[in-house]
């Protein structure tokens, strides 16, 4: 199932992080399943437990299915100073989810993350690969409604 990805990388352990990124990016639910870990383990000839250890160490990876759009809100001090707590409250309310939960329609997963390096526009969040800055209630409504409209 992952041959295309494996073709890109030689079977060396130092390619593990790349491979995991690709597997996760390709999955519509942005996660890495147990089956995938098994296949990677066979391809790289390294233990399942090692891969699982790596997978759960880094915050960008998920072992659980996520929504179509993964929202990662920065909670580091610069964004905190600029009101990330309010943004979090607003997102929870708008999406009707708690942190690390996925909306019932499977469209959004709400996560927190560390500094994204876009602090000049704090508070910021990333939705999949896109960064949204200078957030306030109004902007969040706009962004969420736009994505909801696209589905």
């Amino acid at each position: 199932m992952y041959e295309k990805i494996f073709e890109k990388y030689s079977p060396k352990k130092d390619n593990l992080i790349y491979i995991l990124h690709d597997i996760q990016d390709q999955h519509p639910q942005h996660y890495i399943s147990e089956d995938a870990v098994s296949e990677v383990s066979e391809y790289l000839r390294i233990p399942f437990s090692h891969i699982y250890g790596v997978l759960t160490f880094y915050t960008m990876y998920s072992t659980k299915p996520r929504g179509k759009n993964v929202i990662r809100l920065c909670e580091s001090p610069p964004c905190f100073l600029k009101g990330s707590e309010n943004v979090l409250r607003k997102l929870k309310k708008t999406l009707d989810v708690k942190i690390n939960q996925t909306t019932k329609d499977g469209l959004f997963t709400l996560e927190l993350c560390a500094c994204l390096g876009v602090c000049g526009n704090a508070p910021v969040m990333m939705i999949n690969d896109d960064v949204y800055g200078n957030l306030n209630d109004e902007k969040i409504d706009k962004i969420i409604n736009k994505i909801r409209g696209e589905k």
Partner: protein, 519 residues
């Protein structure tokens, strides 16, 4: 903060004032107003553009088009054609003089000298402004020992936070005989409030490539890796392009410039872990492991990635190298104070008018950085504190606003330059809240390898959480300091040892904020 799609930089100096520039600006504003462009186009009055005797002149960014000898009669044409339709008025454009002096919020740029001026995706433009000359000089005219000597004499110190002398670091690895040596660039920029490396890589990726090439030749490495955090998609893309172009031009690769020296540069991507900024954790991550730190010694310079001698340097450090080689150690060491030479890139953010990035001479005061480059305090509010150096930094109060920002001066106040992040807070900010946020960050990022850090962070978070919720006692403040002191003594790596500084400085400088939450 306002974002403009276009900036007009108008030269207001003695000669243009005489030519009636004030009148012209007023008339320009009227025109922009008439076409509802005032929200899209910003006008900045600058100093001389770098040439004289051409009447009224201005530069339009981002296109970098220079108009000269403009009169009020030409205004309508420029506004309707260029600003509305995007068609520059050719008859008024000046042939580009050699490098115009550019003073847009930056002074004496070294690392960022080309950012915003050249197209980062085109190697020709970098070569056009003198790029890769230093690499050619280093490779063809200098011995590797000479390069290390120049870097040593320049006084360049690591810009990643610790401030270790770069030349000295190289001199440990250079004499080692090994089948392969490596240079690794630490671009895992995770310190909250820091994004200088991102902008260096996005704005001028070839400068980094050039610095890497020189570093590799100096220490005898034939392979280099740039370890970038996974979130920096644009950096990864631009650097990939830059590496491909450099290979195509024979600037890196095999038998470079006929010297027999070979060099391969590759990119490694992270996956979101603050601790990977620690050099040995970064190496573990590169090898495809959990990013937990290794014990030192052996230092990476002796045994690093795959047990090969590995020099790990920060992006900003390496981006200084080409200019040092090109202009010499004396030129560089004349900039900035003794023992802290060169410039530093800062990210100024928080409650300032113009949050952003600036590169200034080492030793510039905090006040100057905030007021001149950060635009001063937003909404006319009063300065209360600055968290300098990221989450692992120090809370400075207004008593220290005149401190010189360099390694040695800050040491006197038990502070550090760190990554160069300056988070400015106004009167409304509450230091207890901020410290809570800092400790929460470390609690989340502790990697779990050693128990002093894992448990220490948990304990610190409980203490600060209680204080924040009004359940703290004054003795808890001592406990916070004691615990973080023990962590300095016992934690495995710098991550766990970092908390003492923000905690102690917050309590020392802003004790009232803590006491307010008690009784």
């Amino acid at each position: 903060m306002k974002y403009f799609r276009t900036h007009i930089l108008i030269s207001v100096d003695e000669s243009t004032i005489r030519a009636g520039v004030k009148n012209f600006i007023a008339s320009l504003r009227n025109h922009l107003d008439k076409y509802s462009l005032t929200d899209e186009i910003g006008i900045l009055e600058t100093g001389s553009i770098g040439f004289f005797g051409k009447g009224l002149c201005f530069v339009v960014y981002p296109e970098n088009i220079i108009y000269a000898n403009v009169t009020n009669e030409d205004l309508n044409e420029i506004v309707t054609e260029h600003f509305l339709k995007g068609r520059p008025v050719k008859r008024l454009i000046v042939e580009k003089p050699e490098r115009t002096q550019y003073d847009f919020n930056y002074k004496k740029r070294i690392v960022l000298e080309n950012s915003g001026i050249i197209n980062p995706e085109d190697i020709e433009e970098y070569i056009g402004v003198g790029g890769y000359e230093a690499w050619e000089k280093a490779l063809l005219e200098m011995k590797s020992d000479d390069i290390i000597e120049v870097v040593k004499e320049s006084g360049l110190r690591g810009r990643g936070g610790a401030g270790f002398p770069t030349g000295l670091k190289w001199s440990f690895t250079a004499p080692i005989k090994a089948k392969q040596k490596l240079v690794v660039i630490n671009a895992d920029e995770g310190e909250p409030g820091t994004f200088k490396d991102r902008l260096i890589m996005e704005g001028d990726p070839h400068k980094l490539i050039e610095g890497i090439a020189i570093a590799c030749y100096a220490v005898g490495a034939t392979k280099a890796y740039i370890y970038i955090r996974g979130e920096y998609k644009l950096c990864i893309e631009r650097l990939r392009k830059a590496i491909a172009q450099a290979n195509e031009y024979g600037i890196i690769g095999k038998d470079i410039f006929g010297s027999k020296f070979c060099l391969e540069i590759d990119i490694k991507v992270g996956a979101g872990a603050y601790v990977c900024g620690e050099e040995t954790a970064l190496i573990e991550s590169m090898e495809g492991n959990r990013g937990t730190p290794r014990s030192k010694p052996p230092f990476p310079g002796v045994k690093g990635a795959w047990q090969l001698p590995t020099v790990v340097n920060n992006v900003e450090t390496i981006a200084n190298i080409p200019s040092i080689i090109k202009n010499g150690a004396d030129w560089y060491s004349a900039i900035g104070p003794y023992k802290s030479t060169g410039t530093k890139v800062y990210t100024v953010l928080g409650d300032v008018k113009m949050p952003g990035l600036t590169e200034v001479e080492m030793g510039t005061t905090l006040r100057t950085i905030i007021n001149e480059y950060g635009g001063g305090m937003k909404d006319g509010k009063k300065f209360k504190a600055a968290l300098v150096g990221g989450a692992a930094g120090v809370f400075l109060s207004d008593e220290l606003i005149n401190v010189n920002m360099d390694y040695e001066s800050l040491k006197n106040y038990s502070a550090v330059l760190g990554s160069g992040a300056i988070l400015v807070m106004n009167d409304d900010a509450d230091i207890v809240d901020m410290l809570w946020s800092v400790i929460r960050f470390f609690r989340h990022e502790s990697c779990g390898k050693c128990s002093p850090c894992t448990n220490g962070n948990e304990l610190l978070f409980k203490l600060i959480n209680d204080i924040r919720n009004g359940k703290g006692k004054e003795e808890d403040l001592n406990k916070l300091i004691q615990v973080s002191e023990v962590m300095v003594d016992t934690c495995f790596c710098a991550l766990g040892q970092s908390l003492l500084m923000p905690i102690k400085s917050a309590i020392d400088n802003f004790k009232d904020d803590f006491l307010k939450r008690m009784n």
